[in-house]
Symmetry: none
DNA sequence: GTGGTCTAGACCACC
DNA sequence: GTGGTCTAGACCACA
């Protein structure tokens, strides 16, 4: 896992985002025990307080739960994970639509634009793999 | 024009974004003179300094230019405007792709998801028009 | 003559600079009568007030003199023009030395740097002439 | 460090220039932490906002970077610093050439003029040391 | 304590 | 009237 941060947003927010992705994408499977706050913070290269704050946020979101003495665990309600996943994806799609229509594009153009960008990405990927 | 701000980003950034959209979408046509800094600030409900900062940023981006004693003007290089428009749209599309693939979706699913969201939006629109 | 202005300095200052160069470089010869303020301003694409201010400044510098009813003339004291020329050149050289030593270069390096830049310019010139 | 300002340019610009020189000349070494905005401003005798603006500009130029809660640091990419140094020096040399050729001198004369000015400076220095 | 944003109000040169 | 700079002082989130 790569942990890199930018300056435009609070670190704890970026932690929440990244861990969320790890969970809903399954790279942190349901029921999995997370490293201790202290270790997890070291791994991510941040202050334990910051990691604690991120975990609290994730617990508030229902993606993880904490057991008093034994640590934090990814929720094992996989239907909930699935719901979170589709919700986040729908949010992203709506954001994209809002952005691109604000620029003066129609919804059809938004669709075509996405397709051309995808083609573009795939060409680059192929180019890279040839290096 | 609606000027509404949220709390996650600095106001001057949001001003830059909104004015950028007004320009590239053509609602502020090339060569058009903007209101004076003070008036524009009043209209947007912010301090003149904040608006000034936003305009400085826009000038740095090449979307407007300032003429020392007569005001700010939308650039009249329409090819540049067009380039900015497509650049911003491509950024939005890439952002969407990044978000949604980070959640574990494939690029094909990203496309289908967008289509279903668009259908959804259009149904809502129709629903509204039936009210 | 090209008259183009940038935004970082007052227009009248830029006029003073450009006319000064025209005079000391001889493109406006000693004793020459300048166009009327009104015409000169039109030619330069500026407000007559602005041109007037520039001429006043030039008169203060002794590069031109005005005769009540017949207009402005380049001074015919060619020794004075010569002196102004060398003074301005010396100022430029000193400015260059100050700039470049502030960056941490020695005076010898300043000399070598200038030579390499000159070579560079001449290559570009040759390249252009081949187009 | 001497902080003296003249009236022809905005203070924040002059701050940028002076700090840039401190950095590229090595008097502020790579990786070095700058004083806090407030302290730096006090030291330079300006308002914290003004210093902040200068630092923002320097960050945009890539000469420093800011770490959200711990301060500003000189970039540690020394190759970049070296590039900036030579770029600034080349700009100064070009400026000198432009100035002096606009006065009607040839490039050879520009070179000789610089040499004579350098000799002049060194004589003065020697004169000083004899006092 | 750090950077950063925002407001308020004054001031300036320019045209 | 225009843009632009500067100061003063308050406020905030982050670590």
């Amino acid at each position: 896992m790569r942990w890199d941060y930018h300056n435009d947003a609070p670190i704890y927010t970026q932690l929440v985002d990244q861990i969320t992705r790890m969970i809903v994408s399954g790279s942190l499977p349901p029921g999995e025990r997370l490293p201790s706050v202290r270790n997890f913070a070291m791994e991510a290269g941040v202050n334990p307080n910051t990691m604690q704050r991120a975990l609290t946020e994730l617990e508030r979101n229902g993606l993880i739960y904490s057991q008093r003495t034994s640590g934090h665990f990814v929720t094992d309600q996989s239907d909930y994970l699935e719901a979170a996943k589709t919700r986040l994806a729908a949010e992203a799609a709506n954001q994209y639509l809002r952005d691109v229509t604000a620029l003066g594009y129609s919804r059809e153009e938004a669709e075509k634009l996405l397709q051309s960008v995808i083609r573009n990405v795939e060409e680059c990927k192929n180019g890279d793999s040839n290096l």
